[in-house]
């Protein structure tokens, strides 16, 4: 069995991966063109669309908005977890959207940018396999409908039940926000080469992805002080994802997308998290090897 498959299998997950050297185009993949569930990774295209609109003068990133405590989508971080009214600039909500995957901030931005505009930006960038289907609130509504429950607390207690999981539309790439590993590394390459938007906007997106706090997935595979890891995770029941860029001190930079789906239903999947880091490391090591190897490992 191939090395990447072995890593995923040992972790009890099905995995999809694509890694590419941003500057040479050298690549390696596993199921790189198969549709995958984006989950919170959709916040990266949202952020790109946000800054592209700002460049066109349609949005002022410094504009202060107030997010009321009512009607916030669920979530355990950022504004979603706060009790009171929050007033912050749109770009600071963008920071929370990426750094701690804050759903309330993401939906505030999305309401301003528009779902159609996010998809238009993706189409404009040539990312034809990527589609954003719903806001965080919309995604949660679909989950509650499919699970047949009224509130989020109840929902979070039901998603270890295989029977419930089998009904969730948001776990089916055809019916939720979706992409492919290759589309995601292409997007990251555009961001890192200042091609997804203007240089200032791309730098802002890179900064926010570098401020993401989670250490358990991509970052766990690169425990080196001199290696920078920027990324965005995606999490739903059985789904563990992260896309990001790994930058080495010698200038080597690698866009990588890892999407997994666990066979087990436990909400805590430390092995799946770690497998994302391990698989990414194996892929990047492969790309950094002095000889030109095969495009699958």
């Amino acid at each position: 069995m191939k090395q990447l498959e072995q890593i995923f299998r040992t972790a009890g997950v099905t995995g999809w991966l694509h890694a590419v050297d941003i500057d040479t185009g050298r690549e390696v993949g596993l199921g790189a063109d198969e549709p995958v569930v984006l989950a919170s990774v959709f916040k990266v295209p949202l952020l790109v669309a946000f800054y592209r609109q700002a460049e066109r003068g349609l949005i002022d990133p410094a504009e202060r908005v107030t997010v009321s405590p009512e009607g916030r989508p669920g979530g355990g971080t950022g504004v979603s977890a706060m009790l009171d009214e929050v007033t912050a600039s749109l770009r600071d909500l963008a920071y929370l959207t990426i750094s701690v995957s804050d759903n309330a901030s993401a939906d505030t931005l999305l309401a301003r940018v528009g779902l159609a505009e996010v998809n238009a930006a993706l189409a404009d960038l040539g990312l034809s396999r990527t589609w954003v289907e719903h806001s965080c609130a919309g995604l949660f509504t679909a989950m509650r409908e499919d699970a047949g429950v009224a509130d989020m607390a109840e929902l979070s207690q039901m998603t270890t039940d295989p029977g419930v999981l089998a009904r969730l539309r948001v776990l089916d790439p055809a019916r939720t926000s979706r992409s492919t590993c290759r589309d995601m590394t292409r997007l990251l390459g555009l961001i890192w080469r200042d091609e997804a938007a203007g240089p200032g906007s791309c730098a802002a997106v890179r900064r926010l992805m570098g401020l993401q706090v989670w250490p358990h997935r991509l970052a766990s595979g690169f425990p080196y002080d001199d290696v920078a890891v920027s990324g965005k995770t995606g999490t739903l029941p059985t789904i563990r994802n992260e896309v990001g860029v790994i930058e080495y001190p010698d200038g080597g930079r690698y866009a990588i997308a890892v999407f997994t789906r666990s066979i087990g239903t436990a909400q805590n999947q430390p092995r799946a998290d770690a497998a994302i880091g391990t698989a990414a490391r194996v892929a990047v090591d492969h790309l950094r090897a002095p000889f030109v190897g095969p495009d699958t490992i």
Binding site: T77, V100, T160, L165, R261, S262, I263, G264, Q267
Partner: protein
Amino acid sequence: MSNTDIKLNAINVWISSLLMDLVRHLRYFVVIAEELHFGNAAARLGMAQPPLSQRVKRLEDELGVRLFDRSSRQVRLTDAGRLLLPEAREIVARTERIRELMARAVRGDTASLRAAVPPDLGASVLAALIARFRAGHPDVRLTPTEMGTSDQVDALLGGELDLGVLRHPVAAAGLGFGPILVQHPGVLLREEDELTTLATVHLADLAGRELVLPPRALEPGLHDETLAGCRRHGFVPAEVRHAVHGQFMIGLVLAGTAVALGHRTDVPGVVWRPLAGAPLAWRISTAWRGEPSGHVAGFADLTTRVLREDAGMSDEGAPPRTWVAPRPATGFLS
């Protein structure tokens, strides 16, 4: 089409009509042999007597023997006729089976069924499953294989398997599941183990021993849940050994290297004891992709019955949901 092709085609048609004709003549022969009366046979076949007599004459000419002795007023089989009768019956019956099979193929309900069971299901349960399915569905070709849960999920989703019998928890888009049955595993100890003096064993009694489990890659759900359950009840294995097949597992137990969990087995040198309070639950169910066809649904029902009746698994309804303590890093859309 070339001339040669046309000729070959004509020859094929001629041969097949001859064969059809031979089978039809053999059928007439069988009916007459059973009735030993041309009038009754003709009535049974729904035809007039003279053409039936002509057909039998033609068959006798073709084979070069007399099949019936019509010299007396009674019709009797000749020795050659008696020899032919069982062969003719066989050919007629087979031809009818072929027709029926092909008719089902046209209707699309034929069948073979590719089913997989876990390697540790147990020989007697597997035998009961296969025997009962064959008895109920003699016309369906059953291909059983042994496969771990991960492989079954891949094979079901890849269309290489019609029905799986797998361990939960399992989540995979597009799979349907039958009722989830529960088995409370006991512990397999070496005969010399001091714990065999106890009628039931507490998991905590096993503390410090090594444990044999199926490999995580094959049974991720069972592996993780079992280890978590053992730890929670005071049994932190000194080492976890992995065994795919029952014989390897038994070998490790016999060698005194480790204890194993599972159903009662009658292996010399190994003693099975229930675990006090049934702290572990292994859940198993049938699984298929999409909507199950008639055979798949039938076999799924049968499997569930066999697991209940022959493997002593109980239908405890929905598995008890364990409390999920919310954590920001594993929350939805984190």
